[in-house]
């Protein structure tokens, strides 16, 4: 089904709007009790309250978002640098991959949240203990997809370039790295997504600065403000969506040769 440029306006949101409308109607009619789930309108009001008054009172939404973004970016950048580098090396060298695989396969299934107690022990309650968990979440998708990307490059491409007189260094920088980009960018998108999701869990124990979206939601829950909890969730969803859209834009640029 071809989607024309015009369609990209509102049509894509039609199902979402339908769901929100139905929820509001059901809530207003009392079919969904306000205790089980706040109505979309009260969630909107909640977002307004979070922006103006904040949760806890005095700690406003925009600063929460800012702090969370900083933590996620820090963790993500670390994951990108290490995951990409290790991925290229492991994809290129069968020997390195042979020895490193067991270690990584053992660590991979452990969810970032399980590292929380250790992280607090090592890094305290500052930014690093949160970014560490986010790093763990983003690292594996980036690593795995980079290795995949390197391995998916056709041997004939590499042979042809050797034949043209390329050195091993040339091959790595001019063929392997650009060639693995489609997979790497997929890994980046997934890693960014998981990193952002890990955020709430990461901010559950002690946030020194008192700011962070996960922390804000926990506070709202402590103060029994479910409408603000959902407003916080909606905010997390929106920011996550925007982050993903950002990566997709970069992807389109870098991978325009695939269009």
């Amino acid at each position: 089904m071809k989607v024309s440029a015009k369609d990209k306006g509102f049509k894509r949101f039609s199902v979402l709007i339908l769901i929100i409308l139905s929820l509001q109607i059901l809530s207003s009619l009392g079919i969904i009790s306000k205790m089980s789930f706040p109505s979309p309108l009260s969630v909107c009001a909640g977002i307004g309250e979070l922006i103006l008054t904040g949760m806890p009172p005095g700690y406003r939404l925009l600063t929460h978002i800012e702090e969370s973004l900083v933590r996620v970016f820090l963790g993500f950048i670390l994951a990108l640098m290490t995951g990409f580098l290790l991925g290229i090396i492991m994809g290129w060298s069968k020997r390195v991959s042979f020895y490193f695989n067991p270690v990584l396969e053992l660590l991979r299934p452990v969810p970032p949240l399980a590292w929380l107690p250790l992280s607090v022990l090592w890094f305290g309650i500052g930014i690093m203990s949160k970014s560490f968990l986010i790093f763990l979440g983003a690292f594996f998708p980036i690593l795995v997809n980079t290795i995949l990307g390197v391995n998916s490059i056709e041997k004939s491409l590499i042979d042809g370039c050797y034949s043209l007189g390329a050195s091993r260094r040339d091959i790595i920088f001019k063929v392997v790295i650009p060639g693995s980009m489609p997979s790497v960018l997929t890994g980046i998108r997934i890693g960014m997504g998981i990193g952002w999701m890990t955020l709430v869990a990461a901010e559950l124990t002690g946030v020194k600065s008192g700011y962070g979206l996960g922390y804000m939601i926990m506070t709202a829950r402590d103060l029994q403000r479910i409408d603000l909890v959902v407003a916080g969730m909606v905010t997390i969803g929106i920011v996550g969506y925007l982050l993903d859209a950002g990566v997709r834009l970069v992807e389109e640029r870098v991978l325009k040769w695939r269009m």
């Binding site: 806890p56 002690g206 946030v207 020194k208 829950r221 402590d222």
Partner: protein, 320 residues
């Protein structure tokens, strides 16, 4: 066509089974009364004693422990989800939950006064409250009694703006203090006594010194249970009063029970119990002060505190 029918049948069966599963997991123990309390909170000693000495059973009430929580707000969420019938919990989280419409509960008795402390690190240079300016202090959660008290303390000393208040779960407070990630914390007994006993910190000020005889924990019951059987409520409160009296008349035996439930050693328990006043009559006057503070902090919006408390607190069961 057959393939589609087959798959459709399987999907329908799956949905039915999932539905049945959820229905069955909501089965209630119709006759048991579900009790909740806080992990390692010595304020709830009456609950431990009442269970150990069989006071609930004597009053004809079948009580089972349905939840142990890390902080008050979590316990109130459980009330909201209809997972508890009665509970020992801080007055502040109970008030916030009731006022914000999450848990419909009634206070039928009080559990204690005072019994929390502000603790600083053993090597800390802070000797007076004013020394807390510019420091980082941990509380067990927003909307807890400790949150309220630390705000009161700092506000009265005019240093509220200069202090960074962080939320950390009580078991983690001591390790984080030791790492010097925070400069101090305020928590319920026996944590302050434990930290003193281990030599990792010292008490700066007891909450009793911040606000004399301030109510702390209360005994709440769900509105549902309240409407169902007044007789049961009567039995529960009777057991609670008996347990409270026992603590005050037989402190050593009570201490042994406390050791069993908290896992902490005798010295810590003895020291902790000294700082707690175990009572049972609700303090309506001071509860009004709670409401003013919670309003001021922006946690609740209760304009008519008298009307609210009239509905919230029921002392009629409190008689020997």
């Amino acid at each position: 066509m057959k393939l589609i029918k087959n798959r459709l049948c399987r999907i329908i069966l799956l949905i039915i089974f999932t539905f049945l599963f959820f229905c069955s997991s909501k089965e209630k123990h119709e006759d048991k009364v579900r009790l909740g309390y806080l992990d390692n909170d010595l304020h709830h000693l009456a609950a431990f004693v009442a269970i150990e000495k069989g006071f609930f059973r004597e009053s004809g009430v079948d009580v089972e422990v349905a939840g142990v929580f890390k902080a008050g707000p979590e316990e109130m969420s459980a009330f909201g989800a209809d997972a508890l019938d009665i509970g020992y919990v801080g007055l502040a989280p109970a008030t916030v939950a009731k006022s914000n419409g999450v848990a419909d509960v009634k206070i039928v008795a009080q559990a204690n006064c005072e019994g929390s402390s502000v603790v600083v690190g053993r090597d800390s240079a802070v000797t007076a409250v004013s020394g807390l300016k510019g420091k980082i202090i941990a509380i067990p959660g927003n909307g807890t009694v400790q949150d309220l008290l630390i705000h009161k303390l700092l506000d009265e000393n005019r240093i509220l703006d200069g202090v960074n208040i962080v939320v950390i779960k009580p078991p983690e407070m001591a390790p984080v203090l030791l790492k010097k990630e925070i400069d101090g914390f305020i928590s319920w007994e026996p944590y302050p006594s434990k930290v003193e006993n281990e030599g990792t910190g010292r008490v700066l000020i007891n909450t009793g010194q911040i606000w004399e005889n301030h109510p702390c924990c209360v005994l709440v019951v769900s509105k549902k249970l309240f409407m169902k059987s007044q007789k049961t409520i009567g039995g529960i409160v009777k057991a609670h009063i008996k347990a409270t009296d026992y603590i005050n008349s037989h402190p050593d035996e009570a201490a042994k029970i406390a050791e069993k439930y908290t896992g902490m050693n005798t010295d810590v328990i003895k020291s902790a119990m000294k700082r707690i006043k175990f009572v049972w009559l609700p303090d309506k006057k001071r509860a009004e002060d709670y409401i003013s503070f919670l309003n001021k902090m922006g946690y609740i919006k209760e304009e008519n505190s008298e009307k609210f408390l009239g509905e919230f607190i029921d002392e009629s069961f409190c008689k020997r």
